[in-house]
Subunit: 558 residues, 2 copies
């Protein structure tokens, strides 16, 4: 038995799980293993069948999650050479809301032969978008009843969340709803599989299932108004015991110990969400520093001392990110996706040829050409709504806009305008937070984009007028989970008693940072003012042309 | 000497001249010859020198025009086998305003050794855009003095026109201005070379030099207010004798007869402009039928019985298109250019590969893919202002807009949206004419686009709700000029006494026509309403973001 202690973090993503074994002394990532889910995202037919899914469906197989644990944990142990007794804790984070129906013993309904052929018995992945009618119903009833919790979620809940998905099961497959003893986040379910103990965590409960520490879940009367059979959904199929993050859910079961090579009883933390667990991994354990998890989309996470109602944010949850704080979340639905769309659909052939000659991919080549442009030089301005607006307007029906093109406009100018548009989108989120009393003094970035696109990072600094630091880790989810595993183990076992203490030792920033360039900021202030005018004109009802075009489009396609 | 009589039309374009020999009985184009100008468009340095031109300059060499005549006329005679005595008339049309300074005997100043090195001694081509400050000055003085002629030109004259170019010579090279006995349209100059007689035509005088049949040119007081030295510009360097179109300017000189193989004294018509001469060639000799000359841009020409002031049109000129009518002109500055920009800058590599496999060029391939889309199906809407707005807003500082994009938007959808935008642009021109009392019942198309893009033509019919017929000729300029040559010769010589009579025999429509499809029209009516809202919002001062972006762009580049 050595002096050094370790913990394991498992980040359950959309396509794969990523497991990291971390040194508790300094957060060093000693070994990593990735496991692609055999059934991946199920959006065409149920595995091993010809049963077709409707459009907008996205399911997963819970067996893939268990297999991921059994595959990756032995691999990181082996690769690191760390002894099982020196691994004192495990944490996990998950996509959310990703939920499933299960029996009282935790068996997913899709494991049972009588339900296997029913799509509603499988895991509904976060990006299952088929419950929009149910979300609409819930929002309508909430507005009619004046439910006060609605304001904590920017005035509208998403079809991706827990109750729309639950209601869709009830509406479309009441027999599944009846047979389900539990409706549970996959995050909590995998912790249950590891520990044999069913727990629910404050993060998914708060951000995805309308729970708050002070008010609990919406009332049975509310649920009954949505659907009579749903009156007691919380009591019948969920739990009112919601645990704060970092708490020990239980110890690893004997069976899981054998399967993973870890010791039975190893502390397992309650579940967490990928974006939220990244916050302490990016060194942020206090108010005023916003974490941006920057990839296909951006999640903006910031802590506050008090509950504030911020227009159009995704949610505010007490203990939702770190115990003892209100966690605020906002988001942009189209960032990396935006650039990928552009590169796939709008870049002419000769650029490809020139990129190849220069040994660059198209993103790199466009970045290089865009980097020599000055702010404002293209004359272009875009609204970053190619995938709707998640915050501040919370409106999926908004669409993209590009303004200012001339016959001399080049692809790299449009590419840069799209980057700038996403930066304006982040700035309006930050300003909305600040106007609502939630301070945002500094930005800390994590995710794939900061590692790939320095131009983008500088533009974000110039547009927002804030320094941007970058988390040292490239796997903030797994590291954050490992940190929570260390907290679940506690200081006596060689871990930490609080996530703050864990972050102080285990989370680091890169040396590089992005500092706003004053002359860029000056130009971007002018352009941002134009962005806000267009944002409000097209987004706040003065001209609903985008929605009317969507309606005409739907009619044309029907 | 045969029974059949012929005439020759010469269309002096931007890059080349195109000569056609036409059978007067039926307009059959018997032989064609094209002559690319040896010096082409001079926009970098003066020919045979290292004298560099400023940006926005565009010059030509008048010797190229003469050479074009001497090259092409013998070729069409030879190719057709027609005898010189059976060619009874010649007409020419030209780009405009394309103008030059000359001596009293017609010698261009750039032929003279003492001026050859001075850029201002050469021909200023229509697209010489360096006289914008002079245009601004003229417009300002006209507004201040309340000059009534301004309303005939949509409230603003263009930097491309005659007096801005003349004033630029005076401002930058007063010695050239002084040395010039004549400032003259190249159109009139080449007729002078052919006949030895100096004439001025009502078309260029009216549309480019602010002349009207009833009011003449602006007053000496006006010119003096612009620049004291300009007071007597008309009297000193131009002519107040303006001849109607189709009139005989003179007979071919002995020298030109030798050079071309035609007979001395062959009737030569007064000069004309390319777009305007196309109108009778497209069979239009009466009000109510608008001719669209569709290429890189569109010129919209329609005849009226009375002078009407149409907001934002290019001009109304009595006798400007056909004697006896008011000729109205409007235009869109970015049509074929728009699609060329898109194909050059925005189409991804795999489309190129698929187009090649299908044996199509990119335009054809995009048209094929765009043709299967239904109106409204893309959810996209564009403003066709990539090159500013020529009519109805007359504002070069407006820029392009694309709205409605999503992550599923494809190149062919954008391509179709750009086509639709140009059709909306034409519809708003038509509606502005009609609201001002100028009827537009039917459209007749000519130019390159109608031959190449059937989808575009159908969309124009669907959007405007008007039948579109297509001129039979693919060289409406040359044919129209030949028709005017026949009128200059007159019926006694075997030609025609009026352009109407010539058109009745010599101009034809194709059998094909484009008829609006009611269900498309219904959808396009909705989309057009959205276009008008955006057109007015961005174009009429509610949100001048495009101009502010241009200013920021100019600052960034300075």
């Amino acid at each position: 038995m050595s002096n050094r202690k370790y913990s394991i973090g498992i980040d359950f993503g959309t396509e794969s799980a990523r497991t990291v074994l971390v040194d508790l002394a300094d957060g060093r990532e000693v070994a990593t293993a990735v496991f692609p889910y055999p059934d991946g995202v199920i959006d065409e037919k149920l595995p091993g069948s010809n049963i077709r899914l409707e459009p907008d469906w996205a399911l997963q197989n819970p067996a893939d999650y268990v297999q991921a644990v059994k595959d990756t944990v032995p691999r990181v142990l082996k690769e690191s050479g760390v002894a099982a007794e020196d691994v004192i804790g495990i944490g996990i984070d998950f996509t959310a809301c990703t939920m499933l129906p299960a029996k009282a013993d935790g068996t997913p309904l899709c494991y049972l032969p009588e339900f296997r052929d029913k799509p509603h018995s499988w895991v509904k992945l976060w990006k299952h978008h088929a419950a929009q009618p149910e979300a609409d119903r819930i929002n309508q009833v909430a507005r009619e009843r004046g439910e006060t919790w609605l304001s904590r979620y920017g005035g509208k809940i998403s079809s991706e969340w827990f109750f729309p998905k639950a209601l869709q099961i009830l509406n479309d497959a009441p027999e599944i709803y009846e047979a389900a003893d539990r409706l549970i986040e996959a995050a909590d379910w995998i912790v249950w599989q590891l520990t044999g103990v069913e727990t629910r965590n404050s993060c998914t409960a708060g951000y995805k299932a309308i729970w708050s520490k002070r008010e609990g879940f919406p009332s049975p009367d509310f649920f009954a108004a949505v659907h009579p059979r749903m009156r007691n959904i919380v009591k019948e199929k969920m739990s009112e015991t919601i645990l704060p993050l970092g708490q020990r859910a239980g110890g690893l079961t004997a069976e899981m110990a054998v399967a993973t090579g870890l010791r039975p009883g190893t502390a397992v933390a309650v579940a967490n969400v990928d974006a939220h667990v990244s916050v302490p991994a990016a060194t942020v354990v206090e108010p005023g520093r916003m974490v941006m998890i920057m990839g296909t989309s951006i999640c903006h996470m910031v802590l506050g001392e008090e509950q504030k109602i911020v227009p159009g944010m995704c949610g505010v949850v007490e203990d939702g990110i770190l115990p003892g704080f209100f966690g605020f979340e906002a988001g942009q639905s189209c960032v990396g996706d935006h650039f990928a769309w552009f590169v796939e659909n709008c870049v002419p052939m000769h650029y490809q040829a020139e990129a190849q000659k220069a040994g660059l991919n198209l993103h790199q080549y466009l970045e290089k050409r865009a980097a020599v442009l000055k702010p404002g030089e293209s004359g272009l301005l875009a609204l970053d709504w190619w995938n709707g607006n998640r915050s501040v307007l919370v409106d999926a029906d908004l669409t993209g806009l590009l303004l200012g093109a001339t016959l001399a406009t080049k692809a790299e100018e449009i590419y840069r305008a799209l980057i700038e548009a996403t930066a304006y989108g982040t700035r309006i989120i930050i300003e909305t937070f600040e106007q609502s009393g939630v301070a945002v003094r500094e930005l800390v970035a994590t995710g794939g984009l900061p590692e790939r696109n320095k131009l983008l990072m500088q533009i974000f600094a110039d547009v927002t007028g804030r320094e941007i630091k970058v988390a040292a880790t490239s796997q903030a989810g797994s590291l954050g989970s490992a940190m929570h595993g260390a907290v679940a183990a506690g200081a006596k076992a060689g871990g930490y008693d609080t996530i703050q203490q864990a972050a102080a030792k285990m989370a680091h920033l890169k040396d590089e940072k992005y500092v706003p360039i004053p002359e860029h900021k000056r130009v971007y202030d002018q352009l941002y003012a134009e962005y806000v005018t267009l944002h409000d004109y097209f987004g706040r009802g003065a001209n609903d042309v985008m929605k009317r075009l969507k309606r005409i489009k739907a009619e044309a396609r029907s």
